[in-house]
Assembly symmetry: C2
DNA sequence: ATTTTATCCCTCGACATTCGAGGTAAGGGA
DNA sequence: TCCCTTACCTCGAATGTCGAGGGATAAAAT
């Protein structure tokens, strides 16, 4: 019995979104999603890192080793040009899905 | 390479919803979801039937054999009392998730 | 000086769910 | 008779999430 916090598929979109402004390292990505959602969304590391590799494999993000604010080694991710495009695609897909589900859920 | 039409987890909620008014047989459930969403959501039979068993196992729906409008044998499903409660739970969960995701996606 | 805590990375196996492709059966029309 | 449609069901592959692990190092506490 396992409750899925995140709906499958939305994590990729969320990651792309929080990278839209500046590059972030993995840990910070999870923190930011959690903070922006006011703790409604918690991204476990077991979901996060696989997702980051997935996105990188697909060419939507790039990574580079650097130094974190706390002086630790950290891998910084940033959106690629294709990634920006993909963010739009996913965002629109999400909107369409929400509309579709609302149509069903609000059918009298 | 497989595009997930439905987000994982939403199918249960949608099924419960379309059963809210009247009992329906499986085939009709899929049709109604598709129609209400204006073809945005397509429920394949490979997703539908496992979901129906799942919901029945959890005590959210009950089934009974009957006769379809087209004079064929069909299994009619209807919501249980617990199922009605569950529909509320899932509906609220979905709303909360939408809010949370919107907070992230609309962060400037 | 040593221990603890916090940050940051990663991997693994278990699990749930979706999906496409298959298979069965029976009604109704050509 | 043959085929189309309706309606049921099952299977294996693929995907993604999760919790529980493990490792390394910086900073803080003891």
């Amino acid at each position: 019995m396992q409750k899925t916090e995140l709906l499958q598929g939305t994590l990729d979109m969320l990651i792309l979104k929080v990278l839209q402004r500046d590059p972030l390292h993995g840990f910070a990505i999870a923190e930011r999603i959690q903070r922006l959602s006011e703790d409604a969304l918690k991204v476990g590391e077991g979901s996060l890192y696989p997702a980051l590799y997935r996105l990188q494999d697909r060419g939507w993000i790039e990574s580079e080793w650097g130094q974190s604010e706390n002086n630790r080694r950290a891998k910084y991710y940033k959106l690629t040009k294709v990634g920006r495009k993909q963010l739009e695609v996913e965002s629109e897909g999400w909107d369409r899905l929400c509309v579709a589900i609302r149509q069903v859920m609000q059918s009298a």
